[in-house]
Structures are given as C-alpha cells and as structure tokens.
Symmetry: C2
C-alpha cells in the first residue's frame, strides 16, 4: 500500500495484498452462503436510461461507446450503455427480468466491481468492489428479514479481520411518525437536515430546520433530541416516549426497531446499536436503515449501509419489496492493508519449492510436486538445476517456507528454511503445519 495507483482512483494490489482482499471476499462468501444466500453476478453495463431513472446523475456515471462506432451514433441514444455505479439498480432489473425463474423470497449475495467518476479521495475510488446481500419478496416480505439481515451482516463483519464495528440501525417510520407527531409535515426535509448532523453540527441543523423546513425552535430541538438517542438495547423506546410525541407510524417504527435491537443485543451483543441519528440519503428506504462504522476509523465513513425498501423494483402492478446491505469491500481492504490488520505470509501460494539436483531430475521433481498437490499442498518445481544455494535463495525471496530435496539414492528431505531444520520426508505423506497451508496472518 506504499505505492500510489498509477491511475488515480483505480487501485491495484500487489500479489500479497490481493491475498488479503481474497481472504475478505472468501470470508464474506462463506458467511453469506452459510446463511443461505445464493450468488449472482450481473453484467457491468446497464442502459443509460435504466441508470439515470432514479436521478442518480450525481454518481458520475461512466458512459460507454465503441471506439469503432460513429461518435454521434450513441450520444443521445437512451439504450446506449454505461457502467453500473452500484449493485442495487442492476439487481432490481435482474429480479424483474428473471422473476419467473426465481423462488421468492429470493436471497442473493453479489460481489462485483462498480464504477463512479467521482473525484478520488481517501476511502473513495472510481473503481471499487461492493459485496451486497438482499432478500426480495414477491409482493410482500415479512419484517423478520430486517432482523435477519442485521444478524447476517453482523456475523459477516465479525468474521473479517477489521476489529470492532458498530452497526447503527434506525427506522424511517419511527422518524417520520415522530416528525408528523410533532406537527412537521415534510419529514423528508427534516431527515435531509438531520442527515447533515455529523458534518455541520446541531446548531446549524437547527437553523436549517427553523429557516428552511418551517419548524419552531421547540420542534427543531425535539427533532435533535430524537437524533441524540443511541442505545445498545431497547431502552431507546423509553427515551423516545419521554419526548412526549405520539403518532401511529412512530409506534410501528418503535416496534420494528425494537425487534432488530432485541434480537441483536442477544445474538450480536455490542455490535448493533439503535442510533436515531441515522438518516441515509437515498429516497427509496421505507423502514429499517443501517450504517456501519469501524471503531477507531470513523473518518472512513460507513463501510456497510442499507435498509428496507417497499418497492425497489416493480413491473406493472407487481412490486418487489426487499431489505439489503452493501459492504464497501475496497474501502475496507484499503484500510486493512494500510493498518496491516492482516498480512499475507508470502506473495505466492506455494508452500514447498521442489529443487533440482540436475536438469534430468525435472520429471522426478514433477512426480514429487504431483504427490504433494494431490494432498492440497501448493508447490513449484525449480525451472533449472542451479546451485542449491541459489535455489534456496529463490524460495526464500518469495517467502516459500519449505525446500524439497531428492537425493541420488531416491530418498527425500525437506528443509524449513526459517528454522534450518532438515528432515527426511515422503512425498506421499509429508504435510506442512496447518498454519503454513493458509497464507493469511493476523
């Protein structure tokens, strides 16, 4: 991570860094599949019309055009292609297109690159990998999935080498009900102001609420009091009630958020909190909303966000409600690498380097390698019979821990080049210590 990307915003990892990224992706895949999520991939491109439908032009979409094509041909064509900027819009299209082939509620995870032409900065890239999980229903989706998704993502993040995290959960119904109960009739405008709380502070939010949203000083203060509530158990309910606001939607929201926090405080204690300041920018969330910070790395922003949407996708009268979260894998990996939270033991998968006593020994060495690979031990055979010292140095330079020797009498020895210990070994049965088989060091 000392190196600078040769193209700003488009990070590339060295082999040992990629080992860490693969470890993250493998871990997420394992946890998601253990929770019954099926994998899909969608194409990298959508039509521009599809991508711009929700007015997300601020995402700085990258348009595509064939260099060989007439430059004017695609300029104003709504079916011209562009790179997706997230995995939610393509997933919504995929669900509608393939609804007849999917079993609902459809649980899927998706780990792919996305592109945004934004100005690159710390933690923000132009090409990056997201890992999304969503459950989508056909017409309806039980609320218990909002709870399950929080638990699944807590399980996934706990399995990653990222230290402590906080999944901060709120509920749009709770907030909207509270604002309406207060007498504020434009809850979206209130939410947009509250969303700026961390950035601009309470005083300026209050100013926006009174001057732009039409709140009284007391209403503004109540909205800020609500946003100030943050508990790791369901005690937030009493704190909200103490503010003395009543509304039916508020009750629904309190009940829903309680269910998430009650389950999480039991199954993922300490990792999930009710944080009533969470607003989430996107319009399409209708209930639960999630954001996640890495403890000690709050400046990184949210590493995993999402929520419940009543109709992300629709076709005619059919709607597909869902609940999902998206992990910013590249943002996480760049931080793991920068802080060396985990590292690769070596830049190559090989555990054993099979040396050559002479060039004629190449076939015999391949037999040794085949026997080791048969038992899942990654290895390389020397390309030519250089002096043993040179062959050992080659292995050492790559961090390959073991060097294999086959003697003229047909016996074998294997040397741990870290300790210098050299023992006789049988290619059909010798096995390295388990910690050398994996290539990730915490």
């Amino acid at each position: 991570m000392a190196r600078k990307a040769s193209l700003s915003g488009f990070p590339e990892w060295l082999p040992a860094e990629r080992v860490v990224e693969q470890h993250v992706l493998d871990t997420l895949r394992r946890v998601f599949e253990l929770h019954g999520f099926a994998n899909i991939e969608t194409r990298a491109v959508e039509t521009r019309a599809q991508l711009l439908r929700k007015g997300e032009i601020d995402k700085e979409v990258y348009g595509l055009s064939r260099l060989a094509a007439d430059p004017d041909e695609e300029k104003n064509d709504p079916n011209a292609l562009a790179l997706h900027f997230d995995l939610t819009v393509p997933f919504a299209r995929y669900v509608v297109e393939n609804a007849g082939h999917l079993a609902f509620p459809f649980r899927r995870y998706q780990m792919q690159k996305v592109w945004r032409g934004e100005r690159p900065q710390d933690g923000r890239f132009r090409e990056f990998t997201q890992a999304d999980i969503d459950v989508v229903g056909d017409g309806s989706l039980p609320f218990s999935y909002d709870v399950e998704l929080a638990l699944t993502i807590a399980d996934a993040l706990s399995a990653l080498p990222i230290g402590d995290f906080r999944l901060r959960v709120n509920n749009r119904k709770l907030a909207e009900g509270f604002y309406r109960g207060l007498g504020l009739e434009d809850p979206d405008a209130v939410l947009r102001a509250i969303d700026k709380l961390e950035k601009i502070g309470a005083e300026k939010v209050a100013e926006i609420l009174t001057t732009e949203v039409g709140a009284t000083a007391a209403q503004a203060q109540a909205a800020l009091d609500l946003a100030g509530i943050c508990t790791s158990d369901t005690s937030f309910v009493e704190q909200v009630r103490a503010l003395g606001v009543e509304h039916e939607l508020l009750e629904t929201g309190l009940d829903e958020l309680s269910q998430v926090i009650a389950a999480a405080s039991k199954r993922a204690p300490g990792n999930v909190v009710a944080d009533l300041s969470i607003a989430r920018g996107l319009d399409y969330y209708t209930g639960t909303v999630y954001e996640t910070v890495l403890v000690g790395h709050e400046s990184l922003g949210s590493i995993c966000s999402g929520g419940r949407y009543e109709s992300l996708a629709s076709k005619g009268k059919k709607t597909y409600p869902g609940v999902g979260l998206s992990i910013g894998v590249t943002r996480l990996v760049s931080r793991i690498l920068a802080e060396e939270l985990v590292t690769a033991a070596r830049s190559v998968p090989s555990v054993v380097y099979v040396t050559l006593a002479n060039d004629e020994a190449w076939h015999e060495a391949q037999d040794v390698a085949a026997a080791l690979r048969e038992r899942g031990i990654a290895c390389e055979v020397a390309a030519s019979a250089e002096k043993f010292g040179k062959q050992i140095k080659y292995a050492d330079r790559r961090g390959i821990p073991f060097v294999w020797f086959t003697h003229a009498d047909g016996t074998h020895e294997v040397k741990d080049i870290r300790s210098g210990e050299q023992l006789s070994a049988d290619p059909a049965s010798w096995t390295p210590p388990a910690e050398d088989l994996t290539n990730v060091v915490s």
Copy 2:
C-alpha cells in the same frame, strides 16, 4: 440457459447456473494455486493509447467517458479511458509498473471480465470472463516453463467437467525455420495463410501461397504437408525430417516442441498433441503456441490459447519474456450449461431449512441454525410460522433437501424431504451426507 440475454452479448446466469460458473472458477483457482500461481486483478480500464498500441483496434474497444463531463473533452485525449479487451495487455502494464515489487520469474493467474464490442454470436460475447496464467521473467525465462505451462493447463482442464479436450501445441520457430529452409522469405505471410486452413481448406490456402506469398506449387505443398502433421508423441520429428527441409531455427523448434510433447505424453497422456497446423493470429508469439479444442465441440473454437512471447512488456532496455495461456471461461460455461455437463443440485446454498412451530420459536430456531453453521452446514430459518406443509413446500421448491423441526419438549427431528425419512437429531452433531454439502452434480 433457455433464457436469452436481455442485452445481446452480455450473458447473465440464474443462481443455479452461477453455481456451475463458480465451480469452474473455484476449480481453476485451486489448480493454479496448487501450481504456485499467485492471483492478481488489474483495473477494468486502460488508457486508449495503451490499448491501441498494438493496433488491436479490430477488437472493438469500448471507450469510456463520464456522462457529466464535457462531451468533447475526452474525444481526442490519448489518456481517455477504455475497457480492456483481454488480460494480457493490462498484465504487461502491471508487470512494468510493479517490477520493483515482484519476484521474477513472476507466476500469476488472473480471472476477470473483459469487453469487446464485437457482433455477438454462438460462443462469442461482448462481456466475458477469461482465466489467464502466465510466467514472466526479468530479461530471460528458461524454456522449461513452456513445458510446465502446458502441464498446468492440462491439469486445470482435466479438473473441469468438460469431458475430453485436446491441447494442440506448435512452435513458431519450427514453422519459421521450415519456411525459411524451403526458401520462403516471408514466414509471417505463410503463417497467416496456414491460419486459414480450417476455415477455407488446403486448396485455397495453396492458392494464396502461390499467388500472394510468392511460393512455388512445391513450396506451397511442402508448407501444407508440414501443417498436416499431428502426433500425440514425438514422432512428429521424424515426419518433419522426412519432408527434407533443413534450417537452424527448424532444429531449435523441433527440440522445443519435442520437450513439451515428451513431458505431456508422460504426464497428461492423450490430452496434448503436436499439431503443426496451429498458427495463432497474434504477432507477439515467438516460440511455443497453444490452442485447445473440446472433443465433440470443435465448432466452439479454441477454449484455451496462448504461447511464448519474447517481449510482451518492455521498459527502456529491459524486456520481460513470458509464456502464458488464457481460458475462455464464459465460452466454456455457456457450453457446460447448454449441454448440462454438470448442474447445481439446488439454486440456493442451504442444505437445511429450519422450520418454526410458532413465531416465538424464532430465537430457538436461530440457535439451531447457528449450531449448524458452526460446522459448515448452510441453512435458512423460516421467516414466519406458517403451516408445516407450507414451510416444507417452500424448502422443496428451492431444492433444500432437509427440513428441521424443534418440538415443544426441546427435542429435534430432521426430515429428508426426498425420501420422507424423519429422524431425531442434535443440532450440535447432526451432519448431512457429504454429497448434499456440495451443490454441484456431475
């Protein structure tokens, strides 16, 4: 695979199809890593100047431009971006940029999507996944890697559910030496004509050789005789010698190809042949060239091609010779799916569906699920306590083989819904048969 891609040339798989694609990618990754290849990924974009450097404009490159940018801004900018059309050009750039951080010979595999704006047709896509392996040296690279790469790729393809394949190997030095020995002074032109043999037949190739390349009828016939040689052992050497042509480069080529075929006939018998008709279109190959056909699916074209290049990448006086192969994963997977060579047992990873006797049992069911996941058994918990019949039907519709019941007295039973067998079980120890844990059926 019954469905048509909603955007021509951009295939998307259903969850059960993606299981097959993941199986292919996982298998390739396992074999490549067992052979000591490290993984890297490069960014999806290169500068247009980089991509068009080798005059590959016929690949129909997709250019990128930010929709928010001034449309004229990027039109003539050589630093404007475009999507890569293969993994070789980006890899060459990566090696030059990171040479100081890599241990040479550098062995890497890379499995990523690439894009080409070609007209889509059977086996040809606009977005598709390639899996490449290459070994690259700093200044020089021993020939034995040409042998090793053939064996590695034969190992990888043998591990895939694709049936019989033929890795067809030739050598540019052999061909060039032969043509020069014949007195033909433009060996590239001869190769280009021979490359058309399968498409247009011997008669028309002879016509091109005599009318366009300046060969006599006898020279054309000799070139065709050479291309007609195909052996699964080193007997091709005698057959070439019988044609009575002599040239130093021919000798080098015969020796190199013999080494590949001798090793392969021993270690991958039947899968690798010396096929002297193989020409490979690309200019940069300088020795060994590889192509691969699926036996019985020859119309699919080559599913895995590559060769030796003396200087794919260079920087100043430094050159990086290499040898590598590229597998057309999407082409292979589309055929595997169409022919149902393997299928997924189910469209979800879940092996067990944990039912609910009543809504209060949700937490207890999560305990069961957690115990199963702890031992690597993927499972889902029912979202609500519908009638058992409905819950079982839900599992059945997804192909989940086992349904879990927790009774009021705290005992558990698990039912195999295929056989109807229902047995008492302990969440801490019950394990499904191994064949149900994996989701791929041959």
